[in-house]
């Protein structure tokens, strides 16, 4: 199909303009505002005890959530792509729940279940475990919102490669476990990598659900996104910009990793 030259240019301008207005300009403004008063003030602002604590909290929470979601995601993907069991459609539908439900509702539901007055609240309190307004709650909320990515990336890859290779390995004497490590896992590794990157991006950037369960205890339960909001609410605009810039840098690194993995994935499938 040949499109008129003017149309082609027009469409390109429209596409790039849309991206620029929504993404490029706001992100650039953040970077501009961040470094407006020099690098030193930025460094000071992101090395305050609160900022450092928020940074490490974000990293810790994300690592735990992503590791758990990767293990769960691969098991689930195997069940969906290979398993034959009743209620498979239900599992399939439930996995998308975190996409469908607003994060703030997820946060509230966690409070209802694990909060002091929640279902498990008294049992947990008696056991001396505090979930809500504490580290475990933030981890739970983050796991919940980033749950679907690995499953959704790996399942189609498993379906695509089929089970021929796994069956061949079985006839050659490999146990289920050996087949998984030697055949299945290498075949889906780029799918997993891509899913991990997406989960990481989501986990680091999560705000709504974490905001509900965090309790906003400065230096303890404040993640990077919450720090941005807190500084913004306190009219510490340059501080908010600096924290945002840090988040944006992490996001850009993730994006870069994602592009690389995606290319590797396409290459290995070719």
């Amino acid at each position: 199909m040949t499109v008129d030259r003017r149309w082609r240019i027009g469409l390109r301008v429209l596409g790039l303009g849309y991206l620029a207005a929504l993404l490029l300009i706001p992100v650039s403004v953040i970077f501009y505002r961040t470094f407006e008063h020099g690098v030193t003030s930025v460094l000071d602002s992101i090395t305050t005890p609160q900022a450092v604590s928020a940074f490490w909290l974000t990293i810790e929470v994300s690592v735990i959530a992503v590791v758990l979601n990767t293990v769960f995601g691969v098991v689930c993907a195997l069940a969906l792509a290979r398993g034959r069991f009743r209620g498979k459609w239900l599992l399939d539908a439930l996995i998308d729940l975190p996409f469908a439900v607003s994060p703030i509702v997820i946060g509230l539901s966690l409070v209802l279940v694990y909060g002091t007055n929640g279902w498990f609240g008294s049992a947990l309190t008696n056991a001396g475990i505090q979930v809500i307004f504490s580290f475990p709650g933030i981890v739970l909320a983050t796991i919940f919102v980033s749950l679907p990515f690995v499953v959704r990336e790996v399942t189609p890859v498993l379906r695509e490669i089929g089970d021929d290779q796994e069956q061949a390995a079985a006839t050659l004497g490999a146990s289920g476990w050996q087949t998984f490590w030697r055949i299945t896992l290498p075949a889906i590794r780029w799918g997993i990598a891509y899913g991990v990157v997406l989960s990481t991006a989501r986990a680091i950037g999560e705000f709504g659900a974490v905001s509900v369960v965090s309790g906003h205890i400065s230096g303890e339960t404040i993640t990077l996104t919450l720090l941005v909001e807190q500084r913004f609410q306190n009219y510490d605009l340059s501080g908010a910009y600096a924290a945002s810039a840090l988040l944006a840098v992490i996001a850009l690194a993730t994006l870069l990793a994602m592009t690389t993995f995606n290319r590797r994935k396409e290459e290995s499938e070719a």
Partner: protein, 337 residues
């Protein structure tokens, strides 16, 4: 000996195998031949342990293997689409079964070299499967299956994904390999020419049943029923006889016992010439002549000729109501499975 005894397998309502029994002698090359949906692949997968039968029993070398998992059946399985381990080199593919069995490294290395030599991939050990052609991939898959010294080699449409030339080369190569290695082999195919060209025994299957087991010649000359007759090669009915295309003499003059027919189409297939003919009140007939015979008759489409069966089977003597086909079975079934 490999034996299947009264195997029945259903997929939901669909009966894939209906009380099937088969014995495969040691050292033989047996073909399971049938159209798509005949149950031949399912039977092979049950022998391999990749599917479990609903009822019945599988015996390998006299022992009950019905509930033995595929890992411990000592089989080699070759898939239609190669099932190459894409992330491994040819060497690691072939070595896989031996590595799993934790055999000594130098022994594995020697055996892999030997097998790659046998299958003609000597210089290819460090390549990846996607750097090989289809035929090479399938030879690699064969080497991989043979590496574990299986008691039986199971081939599921092994040449089905290859183009015609490679297919013919590989099946002759497989026959020679079998004469050298002597491993009991079961081959699933929908191509009757392939089965006849390489198998000692053929089991013809249809609708989840085995219709007949025998040598290629027995099946061709003494088919048990019309389905087997039609599946092993084209058949036409001429008067009260079922005849093969090469059992029809084409004459330019009428004679006693001849049938008048009109030439509808002449197809030159190299040495062989195929002539489609229309008869009054009968189904169309295909005759096969040599190039010389055809050129002596100087036929063109539209000519009137007379046909005489030179051999054939009386219609009443062969059971079955399966439609007799004038289309070569392989051509009709090329898109199978």
């Amino acid at each position: 000996m490999i034996a299947a005894r009264s195997i029945t397998k259903r997929f939901g309502e669909y009966v894939a195998l209906d009380d099937v029994s088969l014995e495969v002698p040691d050292g033989s090359l047996t073909a399971l031949l049938g159209p798509s949906g005949s149950g031949k692949s399912t039977l092979l997968r049950i022998i391999a342990g990749l599917e479990l039968p609903d009822s019945g029993m599988i015996e390998i070398s006299g022992t009950d293997a019905t509930n033995v998992p595929p890992q411990r059946r000592e089989i080699g399985f070759v898939f239609q689409h190669y099932a190459a381990f894409k992330h491994m080199t040819v060497r690691d593919n072939v070595a896989f079964g031996m590595t799993i069995r934790k055999q000594p490294k130098d022994r594995v290395r020697d055996r892999v070299e030997e097998l790659l030599g046998i299958v003609g991939l000597a210089g290819y050990a460090d390549r990846y499967p996607n750097q090989l052609s289809g035929g090479q991939r399938q030879r690699m898959a064969l080497a991989r299956a043979l590496a574990v010294e299986p008691r039986v080699l199971l081939l599921d449409e092994p040449f089905g994904a290859l183009d015609a030339k490679v297919r013919t080369d590989l099946r002759e190569w497989l026959r020679r390999l079998h004469d050298e290695v002597h491993v009991t082999t079961i081959l699933v195919t929908h191509d009757q020419e392939e089965a006849m060209a390489i198998a000692d025994h053929i089991a013809v299957m249809d609708h989840g049943r085995i219709e007949q087991v025998g040598s290629p010649l027995e099946l061709y000359d003494q088919p048990a029923n019309r389905f087997v007759m039609g599946f092993l090669g084209p058949v036409s009915q001429l008067g009260d006889k079922l005849v093969r295309p090469h059992d029809i003499a084409v004459l330019s003059e009428p004679d006693a016992g001849t049938f008048e027919a009109q030439v509808t189409r002449i197809t030159y297939l190299g040495f062989e010439v195929r002539i489609d003919l229309a008869l009054d009140g009968q189904d169309p007939v295909t005759a096969q002549l040599t190039r010389d015979e055809a050129s002596q008759l100087e036929l063109t489409a539209g000519d009137i000729v007379w046909l005489r069966p030179t051999a054939g089977t009386p219609v009443d003597s062969i059971p079955g109501d399966a439609p007799v086909t004038t289309v070569p079975a392989a051509a009709a079934d090329d898109a199978a499975e």
